[in-house]
């Protein structure tokens, strides 16, 4: 009977261990699905002068012209040399004609592409009466977005690092606390030393955890700003559609 009990306990421990790792592995698969990925820094928020970065799905390219609009799954979508942004928001010259640029934005329905002239106000901003740019172009907005993404990635990385440190200190501290408890219950000597050592690990664990949660709050604020900024970029794209008369 005691053997059965121990086997049961061992089985429970194995299930617990296994379930946590399965969760992690399956979660990892979800996170690798298409979409932005901050953890692990796999995304490239701002790419300039990368040379040829073809957008897949091009076989036969009809002559593109300013004002043309494409969806991401359109086989006729021209090849683009990305100059700024990433797969979700950006712009770049057409490989077939550097005088034409593609701008693209992503929403819940997918990524949309619009062909514009290389000197388009949509990209570089509207001009005032003196001919000065107003700074409301996609260029500036996409740079701001890239900067925000970089800040978020930096904060998330810091938070992850702090969580690792805090978690490690905490597990050692709790281990010490349990050991001190066993020490007390087993009426062994020197329990105070064990307790002190546990406290020495637990205190910084809480402090560092607090810093990590503070980082999370900052990430939430930046994520909200990013959301608003992406909406501005979509609005700018919508202006372009309206100007070209594309529905």
């Amino acid at each position: 009977m005691p053997d059965n009990r121990r086997k049961l306990q061992a089985g429970l421990a194995a299930v617990v261990a296994f379930s946590l790792f399965v969760c992690m592995v399956t979660g990892g698969a979800s996170a690798r699905a298409p979409g932005r990925q901050i953890g692990g820094f796999t995304f490239t928020p701002h790419v300039t002068d990368v040379g040829a970065t073809p957008i897949p799905g091009v076989a036969v390219v009809p002559t593109p012209d300013s004002g043309q609009y494409f969806e991401e799954d359109d086989a006729n979508r021209p090849e683009v040399l990305r100059e700024a942004g990433d797969d979700w928001f950006g712009y770049g010259a057409l490989a077939s004609n550097p005088d034409l640029y593609a701008i693209w934005v992503t929403d819940e329905t997918g990524t949309h592409y619009l062909i514009v002239e290389s000197d388009s106000d949509l990209i570089w901003g509207d001009t005032d009466r003196q001919g000065e740019r107003l700074g409301n172009g996609l260029d500036g907005l996409i740079q701001q977005r890239s900067s925000l993404l970089n800040q978020i990635a930096e904060l998330v990385g810091l938070s992850e690092s702090r969580d690792n440190t805090s978690g490690t200190l905490f597990q050692i501290g709790i281990g010490g606390l349990i050991l001190a408890g066993i020490c007390v219950a087993a009426t062994l000597g020197g329990c105070g030393v064990v307790l002190g050592a546990a406290g020495a690990f637990l205190a910084p664990a809480f402090v560092i955890q607090g810093d990590a949660r503070e980082n999370d709050t900052q990430v939430e604020v930046l994520a909200t700003q990013l959301h608003d900024l992406e909406q501005l970029i979509r609005n700018r794209f919508a202006v372009g559609l309206a100007r070209t008369g594309t529905p």
Partner: protein
């Protein structure tokens, strides 16, 4: 018939499972965030904790009837500290980051929920200890 373990031993067995769970969670989080040192440390502590919990080797050293009054209060700090710590990690919004599943956040949430549940379970043997190990009034 197997002898039911005393509340004190049940408490420490649960505490070791709790430590094993916390360490496993730390290891998983470290693995998801590419921190090899924390992965190794977490797995070692987790393995040792589960081994000790299953075999009962350390818990067997606990003497019956020695945990009374203030000592029970001291033991109670273990689940309390864990609950306070993990409650600060219990943030459901961290499951997603910028619209994508955020694996380290998911792991942290699962770890926190499991740790809080295990800590709550540790209250039962503590209460039982109060009943069985309390010093008897008027005994000579």
């Amino acid at each position: 018939m197997t002898k039911t373990p005393s509340p004190t031993r049940r408490f420490f067995t649960l505490a070791l499972y709790l430590l094993g769970w916390l360490s496993l969670g730390t290891a998983a989080h470290a693995l998801a965030t590419s921190s090899p040192v924390s992965v190794v440390l977490g797995l070692v502590v987790s393995g040792v904790s589960f081994y000790l919990a299953v075999t009962g080797k350390v818990v067997a050293r606990v003497r019956e009837g020695t945990v009374t009054g203030g000592r029970i209060l001291f033991l109670a700090t273990i689940p309390v500290v864990v609950i306070v710590y993990e409650a600060r990690n219990l943030d459901f919004s961290r499951v997603q980051l910028l619209g994508a599943v955020y694996v380290p956040g998911v792991i942290m949430l699962i770890t926190a929920i499991g740790a809080i549940l295990l800590s709550a379970l540790m209250v039962l043997p503590l209460v039982a200890m109060l009943g069985t190990n309390a010093p008897r009034q008027g005994s000579s």
